[in-house]
Symmetry: D3
Subunit: 242 residues, 6 copies
């Protein structure tokens, strides 16, 4: 039995609210159970130096956690003066995941920065960030189309992410904090709505695992992302019908 | 006429929501017009080295702004590796303001950190932070009393803050961003419910101002904080009646 | 009785010496009792990026304390690799105070940096810095006029600063270190010779204070700055009569 | 045809030399084609604070690249003052991979730091680091057994890593730099000699890929690591037969 | 002819004033021509961790330059967040030079920090710092004897430093800034009053030089330090006769 | 008797291998006894800002030590976020030494960076770095001539460096770690093949020393560098005869 009483293949409730950020060109507040991440997309008419004059756009991400998003207060990274290795690893993952479904040439010399800030953490913050950031990005691109900066939304895929893990219960979908901290293995899958792989990260926390176990986790992930794609689509529809 | 159509002595709507942070011992999400700050109070059973073994507690604050809380995206301080002078000045102000109404000896060897993170900025974020942080602190102290760690709430005052400024319209209460960026003078008043002064900061942005002008601003501040004390009291009552 | 035997409304002796820095365009070594600050004004023909091409000048300040300016040796900020929040707060105050009386448009695209370095500290170093920096700035601007870079000194005010506080003796003028470290409230007033306010900072160190107390402190400040304006004028006259 | 003329399932030549570091308790200089990494294992009789008094040991890793290990000189991270996100991500991977096969309780309160410094880079430096670090770790543990600090080598697995990718040629094993920089997908597999998974990292560089493609890459990886396990075993045997 | 009109073997005027720092246990303001350095000695009853419990004392130094000590304003190291290589090289030299004449065992578990801050720079600041720091150290040690912390001054030598260089005029003593910036070679000699060598640093700025030239510079240095020893002795006598 | 059994005027074996770095324009792996330093020369077609448009080239150096180059593992400077004073002092020395024999005007607007990374340390790493860096520089310049970027090698001297010290045995040549850590005085001589001085650094570690002792050390250094010049020449000949 899982600590939350969920079935092994059951996601926590997913809610995505848009427009929470007053100034961002696109924003999504994603809640997956007790995890809550505010994702904003900021459009800038300049690209980083390595891309200038090449006609290509850029998508990047930054990730942060409010000090008291967690059970015990963590140090504020702005105060210690550096981002942890974990933070950097996560923000690189988010950026790669979104670039993999964006047509950077069609975007043109525009940068979009996705900021994912965790307000409350209960496991799965990197996956929630990817999933919410896709909505914020999609809305910001939609606005560029509405403003006739772009002729169509330069996305060739819809992306969402979920974690699965090996716990005492066996393979389970969408780890919460209690499960995550005790899991023997932890995997994150970033997948597209047309059934392709953007990123896979699998880590044996305590002991190596088998290929069969890995495949079981992968199957759960495919179940989980279908909930996430539906929640993304509902949020976009609601936002754009205003 | 003010940009927002408000009267010179009119505050923006004030709403304080509690319990938004799932883990913090006390929390308040304060909204003053378009400004929105999440304030959390975190209790720690250790005090900083300079206080160890002295029987006294400590209250301190940290302040941050999400990169896209503002019209244009600002840099993330965790990423640049240092807090700006403005950030440090504000978090020192919040800490001093709350220590001034806390009985640190009655608190005993406990530290409370107030984190004030701006989700949306439209002027007055430091004042909203002080006002919201007092609620978060009050709730965290109330929980220590409920848990019998303390016998009574070690506060000898209720504190709130508001900005006033000299604009083209004359002296006005509770500057929003449009007013703040054009004001000839900007003043912040941190006041107590029993009519005393915790902190006054008055700055001539463009030209020095007169003592009469300063007194007009001070009078407006007294009007403004009465709204804030009422909102604080309502939030505490609602939170503690659950 | 004050620790120094002074009357409540009595400043410490004030001496301002000029020309102590061999290379600076303007300099003032200000001594107020045991507090001693070397202020230099450095002229640069470039302005910061945000002002380029706008025809406006800039005035800014940096503040530092020699490690053994104090009773106990403090750490060297260059060695620890960051300026404290206190240092940044003070240098921002000095910069704002001098910009408030400078006609930046008349200055043209020139930057002036005021460096205020405390050689000996006995309370009131931020106020001494503002007061000395004004002399250094005035001398540097006078030299620009003498060199026909400017047609007249682009200042529309004379500025000085003094601290007042609530001590066991009551409200007193010009706190020394012994008084400052025990004061219930500490206020800094940056005022102009024509009786206007540039900056007010009032802080309850231990307990909130009343409006009447604040007004008593303000009255003392007006007495104190008249001594400072006289010392500034004497220093300028002496420097320019060479 | 691959740029190097290799078959899709062909590793580059692998050579592991031991004893190159004069002082380290274990060391391995691993060469995989033109990639060359010096791996050292340093034994320390203290564990990090979070483990003190718990009876458990620790294994961690640091990674670096000499500035001119690459085609164009990179900046020295010691000089810029921070490790890149890429560096941190790699050293975290190395540390996790080795901890996954170490019996930390059997190690006792001892820390082992693996330093992996790239002398020459031609793709696959993170995988070479994991593979070489396991040899350095194994030798350092062997020495602790020889010195009777431990009764047996506290490893429950042998670990090696290899990258595979999707290139114009299709799925290929052991990417060199020319292939890596043009690959559509890049995957790293950290596997054990008994056929289990320690870590999988798969990334779509340009376009998402299918599950079938992923499985093809996984199959190649299984071929590649068998070469690496053989080279590791040869190096250990040679080193311990002296 | 030298720019200053001095003879090749002529020092600039040397003046050492004591007691300029109000709080330091020993202090010396040394002026050598237009170079002016404030040296303070601060006594601390703790030694660095690597010396604790060993019965030995420690002497160390820190060096800084006020931003406008130079012809053009330099950046403030506290503001840029790091000390330059030059600063670190100089403060290491000062520390080594004074440790070489101090009996650290006789000092006991006491640390003395010499702060050398350049108020005005006209060449030779590192040599002036060593020379002035010896006076500050000597006075601080004398005070420890006067306070009966030590039974006698734990110095086994008197140390002073001077620069010599190869200029268009040939070998000259005590380079000022104009000479220093054009010299073909620059040497610094730290010597003792009993004719021994503490430190020699000789650098070919533009072209290597001969052993004969080096010996000529060394002979000039011996002349120069005799002036410095006399100025040190006069300052100590004056300070201790109060 | 020296710990290594060497005669006082005997160098350790010197071997210089070239081409060890695959990508650098010039490289030398220098081994002097147990000290081993990898020196690479990297050519860049840009000069630092202060030289742009002046027609002059630049030569600079960076120095590092692998964490386990030493008996006990040292911290990684990239990880602590700053280079030690010692590191900066050494890399400044290497840069100055090579600039002193380079005709920067003949080089033209090209920068060459010498990276000296210590793989194994047994004393004398800074001297080995200078000696090896000269070979790397010479090879990189030779390649620029071969590629017709330059018409001839813009070097007007050959430079090598050796340390000598005062030990219990008396004055000895080429200190190894055991001698270095116990020496009463430590001197480094950077000399040219035509018998001139580029840099002299002499330091009394424990007690000041006499001019006679200094001259004895200098004589030993002249013996030592002749071995080094021969090894440099052999390495260049071998490299260029391929």
């Amino acid at each position: 039995m899982r600590p939350s009483g969920r079935h092994p293949n059951q996601m926590r409730p997913v809610v995505i609210e848009t427009g929470v950020s007053h100034h961002a060109e696109g924003s999504a507040l994603i809640r997956i159970g007790g995890t809550e991440v505010l994702c904003t997309a900021s459009v800038d008419n300049r690209v980083p130096p390595f891309l200038r004059g090449k006609g290509s756009g850029w998508v990047t991400a930054e990730y942060g956690m409010l000090p008291r998003a967690t059970h015990n207060r963590g140090t504020r990274e702005a105060s210690t003066g550096k981002q942890s290795g974990r933070t950097q690893e996560i923000q690189r993952l988010i950026g790669r995941s979104l670039r993999a479904v964006t047509d950077l040439n069609a975007l043109g010399e525009i940068s979009i920065t996705l900021d994912c800030d965790v307000l409350n953490a209960d496991g799965g913050t990197r996956c929630a960030s990817v999933t919410g950031a896709w909505v914020a990005l999609r809305l910001a691109l939609g606005r560029l189309v509405a403003n006739r900066v772009l002729s169509q939304v330069p996305l060739h895929g819809q992306v969402a992410a979920v974690s699965c893990g090996l716990t005492e219960t066996g393979a389970v979908l969408d780890l919460d904090y209690a499960e995550d901290s005790a899991a023997a293995a932890d995997t994150n899958f970033v997948l597209t709505a047309d059934n392709r792989i953007v990123e896979i990260q699998g880590t044996a926390e305590h002991a190596p695992f088998t290929q069969e176990q890995f495949e079981a986790l992968f199957s759960l992930a495919r179940i989980g992302v279908s909930d996430l794609f539906a929640a993304q689509n509902a949020a976009i529809t609601a936002a754009e019908s205003h």
